[in-house]
Protein backbone atom coordinates (compact mmCIF):
# COMPACT_ATOMS: atom_id res chain seq x y z
CA UNK A 1 0.00 0.00 0.00
CA UNK A 2 3.04 2.25 -0.01
CA UNK A 3 3.20 2.66 -3.74
CA UNK A 4 4.10 6.11 -5.03
CA UNK A 5 0.56 6.37 -6.37
CA UNK A 6 -1.06 6.07 -2.97
CA UNK A 7 -2.45 8.87 -0.89
CA UNK A 8 -1.13 9.21 2.68
CA UNK A 9 -3.25 7.25 5.12
CA UNK A 10 -3.26 7.21 8.90
CA UNK A 11 -2.17 3.98 10.62
CA UNK A 12 -5.66 3.61 12.12
CA UNK A 13 -7.32 3.97 8.71
CA UNK A 14 -4.82 1.60 7.16
CA UNK A 15 -5.48 -0.96 9.87
CA UNK A 16 -9.26 -0.69 9.51
CA UNK A 17 -9.03 -1.00 5.75
CA UNK A 18 -6.89 -4.13 6.10
CA UNK A 19 -9.39 -5.61 8.57
CA UNK A 20 -12.18 -4.99 6.08
CA UNK A 21 -10.13 -6.55 3.31
CA UNK A 22 -9.64 -9.71 5.33
CA UNK A 23 -13.32 -9.90 6.24
CA UNK A 24 -14.37 -9.36 2.63
CA UNK A 25 -12.02 -12.10 1.48
CA UNK A 26 -13.55 -14.42 4.06
CA UNK A 27 -17.22 -13.45 3.90
CA UNK A 28 -17.68 -12.64 0.25
CA UNK A 29 -14.94 -14.11 -1.93
CA UNK A 30 -15.46 -14.68 -5.63
CA UNK A 31 -17.16 -18.09 -5.94
CA UNK A 32 -14.93 -20.78 -7.49
CA UNK A 33 -17.25 -20.97 -10.49
CA UNK A 34 -16.63 -17.30 -11.25
CA UNK A 35 -12.89 -17.87 -11.27
CA UNK A 36 -13.38 -20.95 -13.42
CA UNK A 37 -15.45 -19.01 -15.97
CA UNK A 38 -12.70 -16.40 -16.05
CA UNK A 39 -10.15 -19.07 -16.84
CA UNK A 40 -12.25 -20.67 -19.58
CA UNK A 41 -12.84 -17.26 -21.15
CA UNK A 42 -9.41 -17.78 -22.68
CA UNK A 43 -10.83 -20.59 -24.82
CA UNK A 44 -13.14 -18.10 -26.52
CA UNK A 45 -10.21 -16.29 -28.05
CA UNK A 46 -10.38 -15.74 -31.80
CA UNK A 47 -7.15 -14.77 -33.41
CA UNK A 48 -8.44 -15.31 -36.96
CA UNK A 49 -10.96 -12.48 -36.85
CA UNK A 50 -10.71 -8.75 -36.47
CA UNK A 51 -12.39 -7.32 -33.37
CA UNK A 52 -15.32 -4.98 -33.84
CA UNK A 53 -15.32 -2.91 -30.67
CA UNK A 54 -18.54 -1.85 -29.02
CA UNK A 55 -18.61 1.91 -29.63
CA UNK A 56 -22.15 2.77 -28.55
CA UNK A 57 -24.78 1.19 -26.33
CA UNK A 58 -28.08 2.91 -25.68
CA UNK A 59 -28.25 1.10 -22.35
CA UNK A 60 -25.30 3.10 -21.05
CA UNK A 61 -26.35 6.39 -22.59
CA UNK A 62 -29.60 6.26 -20.71
CA UNK A 63 -28.04 5.15 -17.43
CA UNK A 64 -29.56 7.01 -14.55
CA UNK A 65 -32.79 7.80 -16.34
CA UNK A 66 -35.59 5.90 -14.75
CA UNK A 67 -37.80 3.73 -16.92
CA UNK A 68 -35.51 4.21 -19.89
CA UNK A 69 -34.88 0.50 -19.96
CA UNK A 70 -38.19 -0.45 -21.47
CA UNK A 71 -38.07 -1.29 -25.13
CA UNK A 72 -35.35 -1.43 -27.68
CA UNK A 73 -31.60 -1.35 -27.18
CA UNK A 74 -29.23 -0.12 -29.87
CA UNK A 75 -25.64 -1.31 -30.15
CA UNK A 76 -22.91 -0.18 -32.53
CA UNK A 77 -19.71 -2.06 -33.28
CA UNK A 78 -16.83 -0.87 -35.39
CA UNK A 79 -13.84 -2.56 -36.97
CA UNK A 80 -11.98 -0.15 -39.21
CA UNK A 81 -14.44 0.98 -41.86
CA UNK A 82 -16.88 -1.79 -41.13
CA UNK A 83 -19.80 -0.95 -38.89
CA UNK A 84 -22.30 -3.39 -37.39
CA UNK A 85 -25.49 -1.84 -36.05
CA UNK A 86 -27.69 -4.02 -33.89
CA UNK A 87 -31.16 -3.48 -32.49
CA UNK A 88 -32.34 -5.74 -29.68
CA UNK A 89 -36.01 -5.86 -28.73
CA UNK A 90 -37.70 -8.01 -26.12
CA UNK A 91 -40.40 -10.36 -27.37
CA UNK A 92 -41.86 -12.13 -24.38
CA UNK A 93 -38.92 -13.53 -22.48
CA UNK A 94 -36.83 -13.80 -25.62
CA UNK A 95 -35.20 -11.29 -27.92
CA UNK A 96 -35.49 -10.20 -31.51
CA UNK A 97 -32.10 -9.18 -32.89
CA UNK A 98 -32.09 -7.06 -36.06
CA UNK A 99 -28.84 -5.88 -37.54
CA UNK A 100 -27.13 -4.30 -40.46
CA UNK A 101 -23.58 -4.45 -41.72
CA UNK A 102 -22.28 -1.29 -43.37
CA UNK A 103 -21.01 -0.82 -45.93
CA UNK A 104 -23.10 -3.69 -47.24
CA UNK A 105 -21.10 -6.27 -49.18
CA UNK A 106 -21.22 -5.44 -52.89
CA UNK A 107 -21.86 -9.01 -53.91
CA UNK A 108 -24.73 -9.33 -51.50
CA UNK A 109 -23.12 -12.27 -49.86
CA UNK A 110 -22.22 -12.60 -46.26
CA UNK A 111 -22.98 -14.67 -43.22
CA UNK A 112 -23.51 -13.63 -39.61
CA UNK A 113 -23.22 -16.15 -36.82
CA UNK A 114 -24.59 -15.57 -33.37
CA UNK A 115 -22.32 -17.13 -30.76
CA UNK A 116 -22.81 -17.73 -27.07
CA UNK A 117 -20.19 -18.78 -24.54
CA UNK A 118 -21.28 -22.36 -25.18
CA UNK A 119 -20.76 -22.14 -28.94
CA UNK A 120 -22.73 -21.22 -32.08
CA UNK A 121 -26.37 -20.30 -31.47
CA UNK A 122 -27.73 -19.28 -34.86
CA UNK A 123 -26.79 -18.27 -38.37
CA UNK A 124 -28.21 -15.74 -40.82
CA UNK A 125 -27.38 -14.60 -44.33
CA UNK A 126 -27.09 -10.95 -45.18
CA UNK A 127 -29.68 -9.57 -47.59
CA UNK A 128 -28.96 -7.04 -50.35
CA UNK A 129 -28.88 -4.21 -47.85
CA UNK A 130 -26.52 -6.00 -45.50
CA UNK A 131 -29.32 -6.68 -43.02
CA UNK A 132 -29.74 -9.76 -40.88
CA UNK A 133 -32.20 -11.05 -38.31
CA UNK A 134 -32.25 -13.51 -35.43
CA UNK A 135 -35.55 -14.51 -33.84
CA UNK A 136 -36.16 -16.02 -30.43
CA UNK A 137 -32.72 -15.27 -29.00
CA UNK A 138 -32.28 -16.11 -25.36
CA UNK A 139 -30.88 -13.37 -23.11
CA UNK A 140 -27.25 -13.90 -22.19
CA UNK A 141 -23.68 -13.30 -23.26
CA UNK A 142 -23.29 -13.27 -27.02
CA UNK A 143 -21.22 -11.95 -29.90
CA UNK A 144 -21.58 -11.81 -33.67
CA UNK A 145 -19.18 -13.28 -36.15
CA UNK A 146 -19.42 -11.67 -39.58
CA UNK A 147 -17.98 -13.34 -42.67
CA UNK A 148 -17.89 -11.26 -45.85
CA UNK A 149 -16.53 -12.23 -49.25
CA UNK A 150 -12.93 -11.21 -49.88
CA UNK A 151 -12.45 -9.80 -46.40
CA UNK A 152 -11.09 -10.84 -43.06
CA UNK A 153 -13.83 -12.13 -40.76
CA UNK A 154 -14.97 -9.77 -38.01
CA UNK A 155 -16.08 -10.67 -34.50
CA UNK A 156 -17.89 -8.21 -32.29
CA UNK A 157 -17.14 -7.59 -28.64
CA UNK A 158 -19.06 -9.72 -26.14
CA UNK A 159 -22.28 -8.18 -24.91
CA UNK A 160 -24.98 -9.38 -22.57
CA UNK A 161 -28.14 -9.37 -24.62
Amino acid sequence: MNSPNSIPISPADQSLLEDLGQIAAELDPAPPLVTELGRTAFLMRRVDAELAQLVADSLLETAGVRSAHSGTRLLSFEAGDLCVEVQVSPVGDQLLVLGQVAPSPSKGEGVVRLEGTGGALDRAELDDLGSFRFDAVRPGLARLHVTLPDAQPVTTSWVTL
Partner: protein
Protein backbone atom coordinates in the same frame (compact mmCIF):
# COMPACT_ATOMS: atom_id res chain seq x y z
CA UNK B 1 2.36 -3.61 -6.12
CA UNK B 2 2.23 -7.28 -6.99
CA UNK B 3 3.58 -9.27 -4.13
CA UNK B 4 4.61 -12.46 -5.80
CA UNK B 5 4.96 -14.16 -9.13
CA UNK B 6 5.42 -12.85 -12.61
CA UNK B 7 4.86 -9.26 -13.58
CA UNK B 8 1.59 -8.28 -15.20
CA UNK B 9 3.46 -7.32 -18.36
CA UNK B 10 5.02 -10.76 -18.54
CA UNK B 11 1.72 -12.54 -17.92
CA UNK B 12 -0.07 -10.42 -20.53
CA UNK B 13 2.63 -11.09 -23.11
CA UNK B 14 2.54 -14.82 -22.46
CA UNK B 15 -1.25 -14.94 -22.54
CA UNK B 16 -1.19 -13.02 -25.81
CA UNK B 17 1.11 -15.72 -27.14
CA UNK B 18 -1.46 -18.35 -26.18
CA UNK B 19 -0.24 -19.45 -22.75
CA UNK B 20 -3.26 -20.63 -20.75
CA UNK B 21 -1.25 -20.84 -17.52
CA UNK B 22 -0.31 -17.18 -17.76
CA UNK B 23 -3.95 -16.33 -18.40
CA UNK B 24 -5.04 -18.36 -15.37
CA UNK B 25 -2.53 -16.49 -13.23
CA UNK B 26 -4.07 -13.16 -14.30
CA UNK B 27 -7.58 -14.44 -13.58
CA UNK B 28 -6.55 -15.80 -10.18
CA UNK B 29 -4.85 -12.56 -9.27
CA UNK B 30 -7.65 -10.15 -10.13
CA UNK B 31 -10.97 -12.00 -9.94
CA UNK B 32 -11.49 -11.11 -6.30
CA UNK B 33 -10.93 -7.44 -7.05
CA UNK B 34 -13.48 -7.53 -9.87
CA UNK B 35 -15.93 -9.47 -7.71
CA UNK B 36 -15.57 -6.77 -5.08
CA UNK B 37 -16.37 -4.06 -7.61
CA UNK B 38 -19.49 -5.90 -8.75
CA UNK B 39 -20.61 -6.54 -5.18
CA UNK B 40 -19.94 -2.92 -4.31
CA UNK B 41 -22.61 -2.11 -6.89
CA UNK B 42 -24.90 -4.39 -4.90
CA UNK B 43 -25.31 -6.92 -7.67
CA UNK B 44 -26.63 -10.38 -6.89
CA UNK B 45 -24.34 -13.40 -7.04
CA UNK B 46 -25.62 -14.29 -10.52
CA UNK B 47 -25.28 -10.78 -11.92
CA UNK B 48 -21.91 -10.22 -10.31
CA UNK B 49 -20.71 -13.49 -11.82
CA UNK B 50 -21.94 -12.42 -15.27
CA UNK B 51 -20.20 -9.09 -14.96
CA UNK B 52 -16.86 -10.62 -13.99
CA UNK B 53 -17.09 -13.18 -16.79
CA UNK B 54 -17.83 -10.41 -19.29
CA UNK B 55 -14.80 -8.47 -18.12
CA UNK B 56 -12.53 -11.47 -18.66
CA UNK B 57 -14.02 -12.08 -22.10
CA UNK B 58 -13.32 -8.42 -22.91
CA UNK B 59 -9.71 -8.80 -21.86
CA UNK B 60 -9.37 -11.94 -23.97
CA UNK B 61 -10.53 -10.10 -27.07
CA UNK B 62 -8.27 -7.16 -26.25
CA UNK B 63 -5.11 -9.12 -25.47
CA UNK B 64 -2.30 -7.45 -27.33
CA UNK B 65 -4.09 -4.11 -27.18
CA UNK B 66 -3.34 -3.27 -23.56
CA UNK B 67 -0.89 -0.42 -24.02
CA UNK B 68 0.33 -0.07 -20.46
CA UNK B 69 0.35 -3.30 -18.42
CA UNK B 70 0.77 -1.25 -15.24
CA UNK B 71 -2.72 0.02 -15.81
CA UNK B 72 -4.33 -3.37 -16.27
CA UNK B 73 -6.04 -3.34 -12.83
CA UNK B 74 -7.58 0.03 -13.64
CA UNK B 75 -8.68 -1.20 -17.08
CA UNK B 76 -10.29 -4.26 -15.51
CA UNK B 77 -12.07 -2.25 -12.82
CA UNK B 78 -13.31 0.30 -15.36
CA UNK B 79 -14.63 -2.45 -17.62
CA UNK B 80 -16.32 -4.17 -14.69
CA UNK B 81 -17.94 -0.96 -13.49
CA UNK B 82 -19.30 -0.25 -16.97
CA UNK B 83 -20.88 -3.70 -17.07
CA UNK B 84 -22.36 -3.11 -13.62
CA UNK B 85 -23.92 0.13 -14.86
CA UNK B 86 -25.44 -1.72 -17.81
CA UNK B 87 -27.07 -4.23 -15.52
CA UNK B 88 -28.29 -1.56 -13.13
CA UNK B 89 -29.60 0.51 -16.02
CA UNK B 90 -31.47 -2.49 -17.34
CA UNK B 91 -32.92 -3.07 -13.93
CA UNK B 92 -34.19 0.50 -14.07
CA UNK B 93 -32.32 1.62 -11.03
CA UNK B 94 -30.95 5.08 -10.70
CA UNK B 95 -27.20 4.66 -10.71
CA UNK B 96 -25.66 8.05 -11.26
CA UNK B 97 -25.21 10.72 -8.67
CA UNK B 98 -26.70 10.62 -5.24
CA UNK B 99 -24.90 9.48 -2.14
CA UNK B 100 -27.94 7.93 -0.44
CA UNK B 101 -26.62 9.00 2.91
CA UNK B 102 -29.96 8.13 4.45
CA UNK B 103 -28.71 4.56 4.43
CA UNK B 104 -26.22 5.58 7.08
CA UNK B 105 -29.01 5.60 9.62
CA UNK B 106 -29.76 1.96 9.05
CA UNK B 107 -27.77 0.15 11.66
CA UNK B 108 -28.32 -3.47 12.37
CA UNK B 109 -28.40 -3.76 16.14
CA UNK B 110 -28.58 -7.50 16.47
CA UNK B 111 -26.90 -8.46 19.70
CA UNK B 112 -23.55 -10.18 19.39
CA UNK B 113 -23.19 -13.73 20.59
CA UNK B 114 -21.45 -14.39 23.85
CA UNK B 115 -19.41 -17.37 22.82
CA UNK B 116 -15.86 -16.12 23.24
CA UNK B 117 -14.54 -18.73 20.86
CA UNK B 118 -16.47 -16.87 18.19
CA UNK B 119 -15.38 -13.47 19.37
CA UNK B 120 -13.21 -12.68 16.37
CA UNK B 121 -15.84 -13.86 13.95
CA UNK B 122 -18.61 -12.02 15.75
CA UNK B 123 -16.58 -8.86 15.75
CA UNK B 124 -15.92 -9.31 12.05
CA UNK B 125 -19.58 -10.00 11.34
CA UNK B 126 -20.63 -6.90 13.27
CA UNK B 127 -18.01 -4.78 11.54
CA UNK B 128 -19.24 -6.03 8.17
CA UNK B 129 -22.87 -5.28 9.02
CA UNK B 130 -21.80 -1.74 9.82
CA UNK B 131 -19.89 -1.59 6.56
CA UNK B 132 -23.01 -2.62 4.66
CA UNK B 133 -24.89 0.22 6.30
CA UNK B 134 -22.55 2.75 4.70
CA UNK B 135 -23.64 4.71 1.64
CA UNK B 136 -23.17 3.00 -1.73
CA UNK B 137 -20.53 5.54 -2.62
CA UNK B 138 -18.54 4.67 0.49
CA UNK B 139 -18.95 0.94 -0.04
CA UNK B 140 -17.80 1.17 -3.64
CA UNK B 141 -14.69 3.12 -2.83
CA UNK B 142 -13.72 1.07 0.21
CA UNK B 143 -14.31 -2.28 -1.46
CA UNK B 144 -11.93 -1.34 -4.23
CA UNK B 145 -9.34 0.10 -1.85
CA UNK B 146 -9.45 -2.86 0.56
CA UNK B 147 -8.82 -5.45 -2.17
CA UNK B 148 -5.43 -7.11 -2.05
CA UNK B 149 -4.69 -6.13 -5.64
CA UNK B 150 -6.21 -2.67 -5.47
CA UNK B 151 -5.26 -0.44 -8.40
CA UNK B 152 -3.25 2.74 -7.99
CA UNK B 153 -5.30 5.73 -6.92
CA UNK B 154 -5.23 7.35 -10.34
CA UNK B 155 -6.82 4.16 -11.68
CA UNK B 156 -9.37 4.07 -8.88
CA UNK B 157 -10.25 7.63 -9.75
CA UNK B 158 -10.87 6.76 -13.39
CA UNK B 159 -12.61 3.50 -12.60
CA UNK B 160 -15.12 4.93 -10.14
CA UNK B 161 -15.51 8.28 -11.82
CA UNK B 162 -14.29 10.17 -8.75
CA UNK B 163 -11.86 13.10 -8.92
CA UNK B 164 -8.51 11.88 -7.63
CA UNK B 165 -8.38 14.75 -5.15
CA UNK B 166 -11.55 13.54 -3.49
CA UNK B 167 -10.42 9.96 -2.94
CA UNK B 168 -8.29 10.65 0.14
CA UNK B 169 -10.91 12.82 1.90
CA UNK B 170 -13.76 10.48 0.93
CA UNK B 171 -11.83 7.48 2.17
CA UNK B 172 -11.25 9.19 5.51
CA UNK B 173 -14.86 10.32 5.82
CA UNK B 174 -16.21 6.85 5.00
CA UNK B 175 -13.92 5.15 7.52
CA UNK B 176 -14.91 7.72 10.16
CA UNK B 177 -18.57 6.96 9.51
CA UNK B 178 -17.84 3.29 9.81
CA UNK B 179 -16.32 3.93 13.23
CA UNK B 180 -19.40 5.88 14.29
CA UNK B 181 -21.57 2.97 13.22
CA UNK B 182 -19.45 0.44 15.07
CA UNK B 183 -19.57 2.61 18.20
CA UNK B 184 -23.35 2.68 17.92
CA UNK B 185 -23.46 -1.08 17.41
CA UNK B 186 -22.37 -1.48 21.04
CA UNK B 187 -19.83 -4.16 20.41
CA UNK B 188 -16.25 -4.58 21.47
CA UNK B 189 -14.12 -3.64 18.52
CA UNK B 190 -10.39 -3.60 18.41
CA UNK B 191 -8.61 -0.77 20.21
CA UNK B 192 -7.43 0.77 16.97
CA UNK B 193 -11.02 1.24 15.89
CA UNK B 194 -12.48 2.33 19.20
CA UNK B 195 -9.60 4.64 19.88
CA UNK B 196 -10.11 6.67 16.75
CA UNK B 197 -13.84 6.93 17.25
CA UNK B 198 -13.47 8.93 20.41
Amino acid sequence: MSKTGSSVADLLARADAGDQDAWNALVDRYTNLLWSVARAHRLSDANAGDVVQTTWLRLVENLGRIQDPERLPGWLVTTTRRECLRILSRAGREVLGGTDDAALDVVDERAPGLDTRLLTQERDAALWRCFEALSERCQRLLRVLMAAEAPAYAEVSAALGMPIGSIGPTRMRCLDRLRQLTAGADFAFGPEIEGSAR
